[in-house]
Symmetry: C2
Subunit: 404 residues, 2 copies
């Protein structure tokens, strides 16, 4: 039951009905392919005449294609329809603290090529390098014409519409314009988004059928802790583009100081850095921790493998991370009541150690039996952020038209 925003609405024109049904048909083909026109008409509960017109339009602009005739027990064989994804390419870019990833992929999320290089914190140097690699990748795969856009995910807060990075602590960026700067360098449309929000988008648009519901969250634990939240089928951006920063909710008043300046944030207790610090018996803020890490100290993957190898300190450090994560996620369970919580990050490699703690805290603090049972699902996708970057380009093609 949405309210019409009288300061920003769209009146229906004579083609509005067509736009709506066009997108419905496209999405039905996407989720049920291969599918015939007759089956589409039945599912949409519209006449076959309408479907014929819709399909002809979708065929004309290359959104879908006709495949083969299917076998049928009786009657004329139906012509099956598919969405075109293989020859629609996307460049996905994941800018992280240490390294930047550039991937060439198709619309379905299938990887075609992947490159990595060390992240430069200067914007122009970084964008030049990205643009160089984009051109090289497209030329190498003879795909200069068929790339439909670039998706960029950033570890920080992003104004999606304007294409600015508002604040990315790990890069030291504040109010940095990215979209049009990269678009000029590459001649391609650029979409930019906060990494966890993009991951949630990917779950919504590229996830298994039935994986994503109208309400879920995607939690990314890495250098920081970020959340992409989907409420009523729509991603949460917030009023000033800082929604989803559940990594900075207060968990332990007077607890360890966080990069954001406050104390006792969920992130300061459960980020990879926090887990490593706990393993080493150091304060996350202590100056010698930085030295240890820069001097070849253990990575989070090391901690996970040592825990599997029987290192009790590592096991305990991960278990405590799990308990704190569960405490933080219980805030999300009670506040947003998602159907599922997806969890990505290196620590999911030690799911046997962190999973029970998470579940226990959610079970303890959930208000109803259903909420207490909210499933927490470790996400095994190899590159969730890059998948998010792909979704940035692919999602608008399939999204419902704005009306009202």
């Amino acid at each position: 039951m949405r309210k019409i925003d009288t300061r920003d609405f769209r009146s229906a024109t004579r083609s509005t009905s067509r736009q709506i049904n066009r997108q419905i048909a496209l999405n039905l083909v996407r989720e049920h392919q291969p599918i015939s026109r007759a089956e589409l008409a039945r599912r949409m509960k519209v006449g076959r005449a309408t479907v014929t017109a819709l399909v002809n339009e979708l065929l004309a602009d290359g959104s879908i294609y006709e495949g083969e005739f299917a076998r049928a027990p009786r009657g004329r064989k139906p012509m099956m329809l598919h969405v075109r994804t293989r020859d629609r390419l996307v460049i996905a870019v994941d800018v992280r603290f240490s390294r930047t990833y550039v991937m060439l992929s198709d619309f379905s999320g299938t990887q075609i090529a992947l490159e990595t290089f060390e992240t430069m914190v200067d914007r122009d140097t970084l964008l030049d390098e990205i643009a160089l690699r984009v051109h090289r990748l497209l030329r190498a795969h003879g795909a200069e014409g068929s790339c439909e856009g670039i998706g960029v995910v950033i570890p920080g807060m992003v104004n999606r519409e304007s294409g600015h990075v508002l604040y990315a602590p790990q890069l030291g960026w504040r109010n940095v314009e990215v979209s049009s700067a990269l678009a000029e360098r590459t001649g391609l449309p650029v979409h930019i988004e906060n990494a966890p929000i993009a991951c949630a988008l990917a779950q919504l648009w590229l996830g298994q059928r039935g994986a994503a519901t109208e309400d879920f969250v995607f939690v990314v634990v890495s250098d920081g802790v970020g959340v992409g939240a989907v409420v009523n089928g729509d991603v949460v951006h917030g009023h000033s583009h800082t929604g989803g920063e559940f990594g900075h909710i207060p968990l332990v008043p007077g607890g360890p100081r966080c990069l954001c300046g406050a104390d006792g944030c969920l992130e300061a207790l459960t980020s990879n850095l926090a887990t490593i610090a706990r393993y080493l018996g150091r304060e996350i803020t202590s100056p010698d921790l930085r030295e240890i890490l820069q001097g070849g100290g253990p990575t989070i993957d090391d901690v996970v493998t040592r825990a599997h190898g029987g290192d009790q300190h590592a096991q305990e450090a991960l278990q405590e991370t799990g308990r704190y994560l569960g405490l933080g996620l219980s805030s999300i369970v009670n506040g947003l009541n998602p159907a599922q919580i997806y969890l990505a990050g290196e620590i999911t490699g030690a799911w046997d150690l962190i999973g029970p703690g998470i579940r226990a805290e959610i079970a303890r603090r959930g208000l109803t039996p259903e909420a207490a049972r909210t499933p927490v699902i470790p996400e095994p996708t190899p590159y969730p952020r890059l998948r998010g970057a792909i979704a940035l380009v692919a999602a608008p093609v399939f999204a419902a038209p704005r009306v009202g």
Copy 2:
């Protein structure tokens, strides 16, 4: 950018465009009345011919009415349009721990009559009493034909569609059906909702023009602490109808035990009971606190007046409530990034004492300057819950049609 739910969608028919534009026109009249057809056409950016047809439909079903001719500097005088609200009545019911409120109101939220009685915890006894008073109220005001529905708000979790109360700790209700039971007794359509969510709805639909944006939250501090959240212009219900229970996010691990069974919940630190307990120097869980309160101990209003009278203990108790509230609200600021936070409850009477603490915590923990400045607005509406109950009946009339 919403995704089409392929398991539950609505294809557009020939009349979909008309439905959309009809609701847009209705909302524009609502927010800009009195307004002429020509002005409507300009705002909607459609031809005057379309507006004529739309207005004729709205006039025919009594949604709007023609008022007077307006003065114009040149040309033909425009006929002004208004939405019909005065003779469209609503019954609003607010079931609280101690008392139940039944109000007769019109569609605009103007109070016509108000009654109160002591809440009975047995469902059937309570509903019988409500039905009796509804009949009496409508007969007394000769309004038996023009009442369009009953809105009921409950201090607990509600399944809006099925009309069940899932869990209301203060009433001791679990899985209690209300909607159809009351509808049978009164012959009127019944809408039921969680109280804070209804308050947010009211802010969205009955608030001052410009008061409500697409993203805000409405926080109610009383016997419990509840939140109604609006994200992307839509209320947050959650997957199993327990969204908005930010009152039960963990704030102080190992803190005071909450009614919900967990420890250190925001509610256990900032509900009226928590503030009174703090004032009395008691644990919120201590058995003698209940005795004191049942034996005529101070109410929250008493604490507020004593604080204004110079009682330092009362002042400190309220200030600490403010600081904890601020800490809890900072989770909402970082997680949902609302444009505003509305705060209702008796403690807003001591805004000079609690306001600064709230603002300070949000300023301390906000991630960007904009988020740190998130306005926290004490809501002075006399009966926010009853206003919410009215909105339950009024909102569907003005809501955008579901498409896609």
